[in-house]
């Protein structure tokens, strides 16, 4: 169960090697979290992440999960919920893709869309059903400011996050009153493996900062969290900017 400050006792991370998710897990394990499930494709990196969390005192288990294998979601995630309540599900998987390559090879764009959107929709709905039965729990969905308005330089990824963001908001409304809380997290540019080699955008942030914001959002039962918070007014301006002008922005 979550305590009065929204600190969960059990955590399921979808995308068990996500740096943001693992930074969040470290913070939560330092508070009340004792059970952590890392769902992801079996890999040494996943086991290493589990080992690091174990060294912090958590009971960590890994479960084979592939975002693209939507047919297998039910079984893989059902197994986790069968073992006990999950207080927080952190949906953290996603791929950035290569925009230029995606425009040249549509198949790679499809993979981005299927991972970030289709896979997330499937996994979120499977988890939402179990959370509903529990009557409590939070589903934290890692969206992105890139989904707020698609940019020329990044619109395949951006559109997949736009779809996910809209889906998660709708799911949050659908689950209102069931005890299940859905929180959309919209980080800006986060310095991670995913963005290594890219020029940081303005207001760039870190996984640790996103983790702090997620923990605070759980405490406040927020429905949307921007990281950093200044992105919210900034994106409001960008969202309303005329196309002709927006197109020319060097973003």
């Amino acid at each position: 169960m979550k305590d009065a400050f929204g600190s969960p006792q059990s955590l399921l991370i979808l995308g068990g090697t996500s740096e943001i998710a693992l930074a969040t897990a470290r913070r939560l394990v330092a508070r009340r979290t004792r059970t952590v499930w890392l769902a992801g494709r079996p890999s040494p990196a996943l086991e290493a992440a589990a080992g690091r969390l174990r060294s912090l005192g958590a009971d960590v288990r890994t479960v084979a999960f592939d975002a693209l294998d939507t047919d297998g979601h039910e079984e893989a995630l059902g197994k986790v919920f069968a073992e006990g309540d999950i207080d927080v599900v952190l949906l953290a998987f996603g791929v950035l893709g290569d925009q230029k390559r995606a425009e040249a090879e549509p198949a790679t764009a499809v993979q981005v869309a299927q991972t970030n959107y289709t896979g997330a929709v499937s996994a979120a709905l499977v988890c939402a059903r179990s959370l509903r039965v529990q009557g409590h729990g939070s589903l934290v969905v890692l969206s992105s400011v890139a989904g707020e308005r698609a940019r020329r330089s990044n619109f395949v990824y951006g559109s997949s996050k736009a779809g996910l963001d809209a889906f998660a908001q709708g799911l949050g409304d659908a689950l209102y009153g069931t005890g299940v809380h859905v929180m959309v997290v919209r980080p800006g540019f986060v310095r991670t493996r995913m963005t290594a080699g890219l020029d940081p955008a303005p207001l760039a942030t870190t996984p640790a900062a996103v983790a702090v914001a997620i923990e605070a959002g759980l405490r406040r039962r927020s429905e949307a969290v921007w990281v950093p918070g200044a992105l919210r007014p900034m994106m409001t301006v960008l969202r309303h900017m005329p196309r002709a002008l927006f197109r020319r922005l060097p973003v």
Binding site: M1, K2, A4, F5, Q9, G135, H136, G177, G179
Partner: protein
């Protein structure tokens, strides 16, 4: 919602009729399963933190309660009274929550034995309404009248008279407990089931009715002595030296005062006023129970942060300053003395959407140093707490999870949104546990589960009894899940 009226068979005594013989309260075996409708709804404790959703049903008869327990699903159920537990004790995510206020009948008053037999959903307010005019008062009254008898047993509540009268269950002669197998058992003091249920947070079963010993009183007024204590040492000295002279004693403590004034307090101590203390006019109806008008309820949707350091600091300075240095023999209404906050319905809303936590702990006599360190830490932290009270407990009771034990108890309210509050209270827990103390489960929404067994050494016996009497885990609450009880 079902009708609160019971079946004709259970109407054993008119509600307010005095009777010398206690009525039988055992529920008959069910013939046909009565239907209690349930609604799925979000439930929180009084602190309004950590809401979860449950199917809320309101059994109106013992049969309906039995049927509800038998029909509860895999996620179990928990009895709920008037929702005054601050944390998650009367919540059950995904399962059933049984609103017991439908069982609301006072069945018999035995004027010779000085006992009352009533349903578990009867509130202490109702008992006062009925019993005071007859010259009886509840044996233990907490800071609110709006708790049920069942809740009073489940939390083994205490009041300002703990140093003389102990906790509520000391005055319970027996109760009817609906257990996981669907049977109704009469439970008496001195048995394991009684001691597990006294303070057991509803996890041993659903209390359906109880026989409670009452306190005879001559008037419905209190005679109250008020005095100020300049600091914590002064306060503890006064409580240690003179508490035994009073039936009721409590100190409001200003936890925002720092430096030399750390722990300054206002003591209010008193007893039921004797008849000759009343002015002539009041003597005409000495036992009238007039709690006085209630203010309009606190509105919904108040913002967080109304009760910040500044506003609470001002309030505390005013409250301390307005208290007389020393005043004796003041006549006060019962409600003003015992339940000042009951005058504002839904006062818990003033903490805003984020809610609040109440932290209450007890440390033994001799642990004054620990108490001092904690008070200093709270003062240094500037926790905006205006409802902080300190009291000296008498000896504890036999309840396995019962909170009160001999020593000092401090209770304070803090807005849940205060940054860093979680780790801060965890630190206080450690200090309390090291001193052999404990925190109160009826107020808890955040204790680290590992500390339960340290603070409550008989928690293991409690779990063992639950495993034996309730192997399926019928009685489950968010608290029991969170603390693995």
């Amino acid at each position: 919602m079902s009708s609160p009226a019971g079946p004709p068979g259970s109407r054993t005594a008119p509600e307010t009729a005095p009777a010398t013989a206690t009525a039988s309260v055992t529920a008959p075996a069910i013939a046909s399963a009565p239907v209690t409708t349930s609604v799925t709804t979000s439930v929180t404790g009084w602190g309004r933190t950590a809401p979860t959703t449950a199917r809320l049903a309101r059994p109106g008869t013992y049969d309906e309660a039995v049927a509800a327990v038998r029909a509860c699903g895999a996620r179990g159920g928990i009895a709920r009274g008037l929702g005054r537990a601050y944390g998650d004790a009367a919540q059950n995510a995904g399962g059933a929550v049984w609103d017991m206020t439908g069982l609301d009948r006072i069945r018999a008053v035995d004027a010779e034995a000085g006992t009352v037999v009533c349903d578990a959903g009867v509130s202490l307010h109702r008992l006062m309404e009925v019993l005071l005019p007859r010259g009886w008062f509840v044996p233990v009254s907490p800071g609110t009248r709006y708790v049920t008898v069942g809740g009073a047993i489940g939390a083994d509540i205490h009041g300002k008279n703990h140093h003389v009268a102990g906790s509520f269950t000391r005055h319970v002669r027996s109760f009817e407990l609906l257990t996981a197998d669907g049977a109704v058992r009469t439970v008496r003091p001195g048995t394991a089931l009684f001691d597990a249920t006294a303070g057991g947070m509803g996890l041993t079963g659903v209390i359906l009715a109880a026989t409670v010993a009452l306190l005879p009183v001559r008037t419905s007024l209190m005679t109250v002595d008020t005095e100020r204590a300049a600091d914590l040492d002064d306060l503890l000295a006064r409580l240690s030296a003179t508490d035994h002279r009073y039936r009721y004693s409590v100190a409001w403590i200003d936890l925002l005062a720092r430096g030399a004034a750390t722990g300054r307090a206002v003591l209010t101590r008193g007893d039921h006023a004797p008849l000759d203390a009343l002015p002539a006019r009041a003597r005409r109806a000495p036992l009238a129970f007039r709690p006085g008008g209630r203010l309009p309820p606190a509105p919904r949707g108040l913002p967080d942060g109304l009760l910040g350091r500044r506003s609470v600091g001002l309030f505390n300075a005013f409250w301390y300053g307005k208290a007389p240095r020393r005043r004796t023999g003041e006549l006060q209404k019962l409600s003003a003395f015992f339940h000042p906050l009951d005058g504002v319905p839904h006062w818990n809303r003033v903490y805003g959407r984020g809610g609040f936590v109440q932290y209450q702990f007890v440390v033994g006599l001799g642990a004054e140093g620990t108490l001092r360190r904690i008070v200093e830490r709270i003062a240094a932290r500037r926790c905006p707490s205006f409802l902080a009270v300190l009291k000296r407990f008498g000896a504890g009771g036999p309840g396995w999870l019962s909170f009160p034990s001999e020593g000092w108890t401090l209770a304070l309210d803090i807005p849940a949104g205060l940054p860093g509050l979680g780790p801060f209270l965890d630190g206080l827990d450690e200090t309390v546990a090291e001193a052999g103390g404990r925190v109160y489960l009826a107020k808890d929404a955040r204790l680290r589960p590992e500390l339960v067994d340290v603070m409550y050494p008989r928690a293991d016996a409690f779990r063992a009894l639950r495993a034996h009497t309730d192997p399926r885990g019928v009685f489950t609450s968010d608290l029991s899940r969170r603390l693995a009880l």
